[in-house]
Symmetry: C2
Subunit: 79 residues, 2 copies
């Protein structure tokens, strides 16, 4: 079983990395980009075929390590 976890900054949290990318794109001459926010994505392979067990593992992984829930949101998609 495979899953994709997407971790993004919450609204209102400053994103200097995104701002830097925005500036870099402007200096590279890429037009039409209004704003950029960067997040992380984790492609996870699970050892179990049981969906609810997989979801529990992924939730634990997100809460404990992958996302800082004070400033970040996470979304889990099982594929």
């Amino acid at each position: 079983m495979k899953a994709r976890v997407t971790v993004t900054l919450k609204n209102g949290v400053l994103d200097p990395q995104g701002k830097a990318i925005e500036g870099a794109l402007k200096s590279l001459g890429v037009d039409g980009i209004a704003s950029v926010r960067q997040g992380k994505v984790f492609d996870i392979e699970l050892g179990t075929a049981d969906k609810s067990q997989a979801e529990a593992s992924l939730k634990a992984a997100c809460e404990k390590l992958l996302a800082n829930t004070v400033i970040e949101n996470y979304r889990v998609e099982l594929t």
Copy 2:
């Protein structure tokens, strides 16, 4: 117009960051995780409402800055 760009390592490219996360999850006692690969996600707001122009800008952004196409794949989703 908004877009999400997902950049992931190509198959076969070593991912020490993913390996480290895998190890950390094991030591934290999270079971059932077989492997982890990390990628990046960019949430981009575009200044244009024209779809083909947006796609051209995003392609240029990916090729020039967001992805290293030698070792990474990227996927653009307009939302």
